[in-house]
């Protein structure tokens, strides 16, 4: 497991709890893991887990955020036209940790009480506004929404489950779709 350095708000104990829970999800699935087992794996008292994460939903959302920030962390893209590459890389990482991929995908689909479903939105907007500022509001929104949707673990889950695709095929199809979205703005970059 990677050190949870990318989530600075966490205490060492919290990082240990989330890493332990993520490990156990991979071994047992997210439904069957008790606080007692998590505490034992993290080497702390059960009441410490409760004090940090009073409910299972709290624990699950924190774990999903931790997984995104550490195990599924990605290199920052410097151009909107690099996003398809980042998407291909991300799909490979999801494919290596299928159980965790499902957990992250599901927590983002809970509405306002769940995890933020488009954590990369601000970054995509920044890149698009810098490179292709001439889009009207609806075009801009559509490009950001489509790329944000493709650059998520939901893509891996859907392509895997609905089409039985393997790692290469998923990375290929997701990258291809992102290139399709970019086709409409490819030659509209503001000259430097």
């Amino acid at each position: 497991m990677t050190e949870p350095a990318a989530v600075p708000a966490l205490s060492g104990t919290q990082g240990a709890i989330l890493a332990a829970y993520a490990e156990l999800i991979e071994e047992l699935g997210s439904d069957d893991v008790s606080y007692r087992v998590i505490a034992r794996r993290a080497g702390i008292a059960e009441r410490t887990v409760f004090r940090n994460y009073p409910t299972r939903v709290d624990l699950l959302l924190a774990t999903a955020a931790w997984i995104e920030a550490t195990l599924f962390a990605r290199e920052e893209s410097h151009s909107i036209f690099d996003i398809p590459l980042a998407i291909r890389d991300a799909m490979q990482r999801y494919d290596a940790r299928p159980e965790l991929a499902h957990v992250v995908a599901e927590t983002a689909m809970r509405g306002v009480s769940g995890a933020a479903p488009s954590p990369g939105r601000a970054q995509l907007e920044r890149l698009l506004d810098a490179e292709v500022p001439s889009l009207d509001a609806a075009q801009r929104r559509a490009v950001i929404a489509a790329l944000s949707h493709l650059d998520s673990v939901g893509t891996w889950v859907t392509f895997h489950r609905e089409f039985g695709m393997d790692r290469r095929d998923i990375a290929d199809a997701a990258g291809w779709a992102a290139e399709a979205v970019l086709d409409s703005i490819r030659d509209r970059v503001t000259p430097a």
């Binding site: 009480s113 609806a138 075009q139 939901g154 779709a177 409409s184």
Partner: protein, 200 residues
């Protein structure tokens, strides 16, 4: 909704009633048992884990609340998806259950969703000469942009309403289809969405 005929369905119907006032996570097996008037044990027998319950509930809600209009052409496909997104907007609690269920690790032998098979059949007829890899890329993209996940992401992450989500969907479909040569299509696609926009 119709009168439930068996215990498994009665449980789902009661869960749907409870979903109107609380989230799926706040529906305990205890409360569900009280609502149906059966023992908690009976619910565990039908749905051993909450993931089983979520998957079954999503399937049932899909059939009863979000039926998909049949489609053969791309424009009918888009119309059917618009109708669905509007139905999601009218019953968001149910739609989120669908989005969640499609993201969890499959509990049973999950088969392909109806919409996936329908999209593949549409491409078989409309683009019979398209090579296999591009066919999969296109069907996977169309499937993913027409999903409850797309609706949920745009509603929660972008605060969009059904009309705006339909617009974003049309544009996404337009960009995907615009990647294929015009000769791909057995018949020209009338009013292919997004294409006029794709050509500045």
């Amino acid at each position: 909704m119709e009168e439930p005929v068996d215990t498994a369905t009665a449980i789902l119907a009661s869960a749907a009633v409870l979903l109107r006032e609380r989230s799926f996570d706040d529906i305990s097996y205890r409360a569900l048992a009280d609502e149906v008037g059966i023992s908690e044990r009976t619910i565990y027998r039908q749905y051993p884990t909450r993931a089983h319950l979520l998957a079954a509930l999503s399937n049932w809600l899909e059939q009863t609340c979000f039926p998909l209009a049949p489609f053969v052409t791309v424009s009918d496909f888009c119309a059917a998806v618009h109708e669905r997104f509007r139905a999601f907007d009218a019953s968001p609690a149910y739609a989120y259950v669908g989005a969640r269920a499609s993201a969890i690790s499959p509990t049973l032998d999950t088969e392909q969703a109806y919409i996936t098979r329908a999209i593949e059949a549409m491409l078989d007829v409309s683009a019979p000469t398209l090579n296999r890899r591009d066919r999969r890329r296109v069907s996977a993209s169309l499937r993913y942009f027409s999903s409850a996940m797309f609706w949920a992401r745009l509603r929660t992450g972008f605060d969009l309403d059904a009309d705006e989500i339909c617009d974003a969907f049309d544009r996404a479909v337009g960009t995907v289809l615009a990647r294929l040569p015009h000769t791909t299509w057995a018949e020209p696609i009338a009013g292919r969405p997004g294409v006029t926009w794709a050509e500045p």
